[in-house]
Structures are given as structure tokens and as C-alpha cells.
Symmetry: C2
Subunit: 228 residues, 2 copies
């Protein structure tokens, strides 16, 4: 079985992406980050999902993105609530964490090189997303090109590294259907940016609203109960 | 004064690169990494150099590259000694740290975004180097392209991020001359991969040998005293 490094936040998208990698026959190495996120509870979801999907190994790397700050996900800024899809699409929201996916993919690249894996999976999505620059297809393509120049494998021409983003063109409803189809229990995942003390999702941040829209459009009940 | 993020290991190359950025009129933000390197003494050199060159700020970010291992710089592997230039050029040495420059540049990108800086400096060198894939011009170019797609600035078309690698085409002798010319005291820097307990350079690893070659060819005495 070929090996793949799979970025796993514990959210619905990255968990679905991991389920797809497994279904495609990869031996999966899940990689999560403890990066100073306020919604650290997502790491527990990542652990549950990694265990349920039977990964070969799950690593949680600690990095301090709070040192640079500048995001509602790492700072004491208020997470926007109750925004419409049109409002979400208008500009890059303050939940954007500077260069986050670049940093995550760089670590995935390091691990892939050590494992001699040629495949990296990331659950970014360019349709029902929050307007993050590092979720666009052009970014993924450019990272793949760079990755093949950055590493030993690329120089020696042994392997061609591929960055897989199988959710890129899916709607949230498609992702819900794909998750169920690939055998993922969405109740294990966590999507909220601003969860209650007990870990329950707020139901009103961009991430909760996009998730709710996805389940509604797929005509499936979300096993997660929100605060409101 | 425009701001620039400057990667600074404390070695001769990155210190010279910082001196050049300062001379070009940038307000410099120096970024170093405590990444589990055996030659952690280089961080003290980074502090000395940052202070001597009057940076606006110096941050040392802690990341654990030992978690992935696989390099003589982070593991208990023997650092190669006494190799000729031909031997160094033949293959990628075991001192190569998987995806290190990709990870360092990704963090620099995050900080640049927060500072609204459009310029990042890195002291990589493609001539008298150790054969690392992530020191080649094609890698730097590909990273720059990716960086402009990864960030807010790139999306909004506000700024065009530039990765400066002013030492790329210099020989080690050129770098020694450039350092002196830009007002850097090479005695503050540290290049050795395998220093003695007291911090003195071994004089025999690839990095020490390349440094010695540079000083010899520039006909300048290195203020650093090696063990042998």
C-alpha cells in the first residue's frame, strides 16, 4: 500500500479527505497541529477520527502561530457570527490565519520526505469556503510545483510528489454525502471556530453555518448538537 | 523604510544576507528557529548578529523538526568530516533536513503578512553549498510564485511578495568579501554543524570546510578559532 500524509484538523472537510485517501488504498499518516487555535477541542475530534479510520500513525505537531497573531482563530478577536453566504464571499475574513496552509503543507512535505511518501492530502475546498487565499486551486498547484523542487525526491527524480485536494470543487452538500459514502461518522468531527466550554458548536460562526447549509442541502441530519 | 523579514540562522551566509538587507535600506525583522538542531549554539550567534546589525525585532520560533528526524543535524547520526568539494557535490548529504527551507520560508511568509512586509530575505547559496535541493534558484522562484497565491496580499493585489536570495550566485569567497564590505564582523557568526562543548567549530564538517575555503580564497583571516 502506498503511503500518504493526510492533513487532519478534525473538521468535516479534512476528515472526509482522510476517509477518501483511505478508500483510495493509501496507508494514511495523519498530521494535526496544535497551533494556538482557540478551538483546540478540534484536536480531540482529530484523535477520534484518526482512530476510527485506522490510520498508520497520527502526529500532532506543536507550533506557535500565536507568536505572529493576527487572526480571530488565534487572538482574542470576536469570531464573526450570523453572516450570509454573500457576506462571507465578499472579503477575506478575520478568521484567516496568515500562511497557515503553507506552513501545514510544509510540515506535511517534511514528513512525506521522511516516509518516502509521494502523496499528500489536504481537505481544502474552493466552493463553500470562507474566502481564504490558501484554499484556491492555483495555490495548491503552485505548492505542488514548489514541493517537487524543494526535496530530495524531486532532485533525484525518484518520485513526483502530488498534493491531492479531492474536495476542491465540491459543495458542502457534496462533502456531507461523500463523508457518509466513505464511511465517516460526521458526529466524530468538529467544525466550529468558537465552541462552548463543553465543546458544543456555536451554530453561528461561518464554519457552523457552512456546515449546517451542507447538511440541509444533502437532506441529512447532523449528529452534532449546537448550543442554540 | 520598507520592512523585510530576514531568515537568520547565525551562520555566515544568513548574517551576510541580513547585513545586505539593512544596507539596501530595509527595516529588518530577523527570524530564527530553535528546531532541535544539534548545533543550537548558532542561536547565540543569531542573537549577537541581530543586535550588532540593529534589527527592528528578532524572533526565535520553536518548532520540532526532530519529530520527523532523518538528518545528521537533528539526529544522533555522525556528521561527515573531511570531505572534498567533489565529494560534497556528488550527492545530497545526510546533513540535509527534510523540507527545512520550505518550513522556514512558510513562517517568514506568515510574519511578513502580519507586518505587511513585501520582502523576505534568505541567505541560500547555490555555488559553494552542500548540495541541498532547497538552496537552488528554481526552488526560490517556485516558492515566490506560491507565496503570492497563498496570502491575502497576493489575492487583493496589494503587494507583490519578493523572496530575495542575494547570495545565490556568490562563491564563499565573494560572501566573505560581501560580509566585510557590508559591515558584518564574521567573528560574531557560527557555521559549524558539530561544534565542541565550548561552542568552538570542529574545522572538519562540510560547513567548516566551505567557510575555510571562502576565507582562504578571499585572503582574509577568519576571526573564529577551530578546535583543530
Amino acid at each position: 500500500m502506498p503511503r500518504a500524509v493526510c492533513l487532519l484538523s478534525g473538521g468535516l472537510d479534512s476528515s472526509t479527505c482522510l476517509a477518501l485517501a483511505r478508500r483510495q488504498g493509501y496507508q494514511c499518516y495523519a498530521l494535526s497541529f496544535d497551533y494556538g487555535q482557540r478551538h483546540r477541542v478540534e484536536l480531540e475530534a482529530a484523535r477520534r477520527v484518526a482512530a476510527a479510520l485506522g490510520v498508520a500513525e497520527h502526529r500532532i505537531v506543536r507550533i506557535d502561530l500565536r507568536a505572529f497573531g493576527h487572526s480571530a482563530l488565534t487572538d482574542d478577536w470576536a469570531v464573526p457570527k450570523g453572516r450570509s453566504a454573500a457576506e462571507m464571499g465578499r472579503e477575506i475574513p478575520i478568521t484567516y490565519v496568515p500562511a497557515r496552509n503553507t506552513i501545514f503543507l510544509a510540515f506535511a512535505l517534511a514528513w512525506a520526505e521522511v516516509l518516502e511518501a509521494a502523496d499528500i492530502f489536504i481537505g481544502v475546498n474552493a466552493l463553500d469556503y470562507s474566502g481564504y487565499p490558501d484554499c484556491r486551486p492555483a495555490f495548491i498547484e503552485a505548492f505542488e510545483k514548489m514541493a517537487n523542487l524543494a526535496t530530495k525526491a524531486g532532485v533525484e527524480g525518484r518520485t513526483r510528489l502530488r498534493i491531492h485536494a479531492p474536495l476542491l470543487e465540491l459543495t458542502k452538500a457534496d462533502i456531507v454525502r461523500t463523508a457518509l459514502d466513505a464511511g465517516l461518522d460526521p458526529g466524530l468531527t468538529h467544525s466550529c471556530y468558537d465552541p462552548a466550554e463543553d465543546g458544543r458548536p456555536c451554530g453561528a460562526c461561518d464554519s457552523c453555518l457552512l456546515r449546517a447549509k451542507g447538511f440541509a442541502e444533502a437532506d441529512v441530519a447532523d449528529p452534532l448538537r449546537t448550543v442554540r
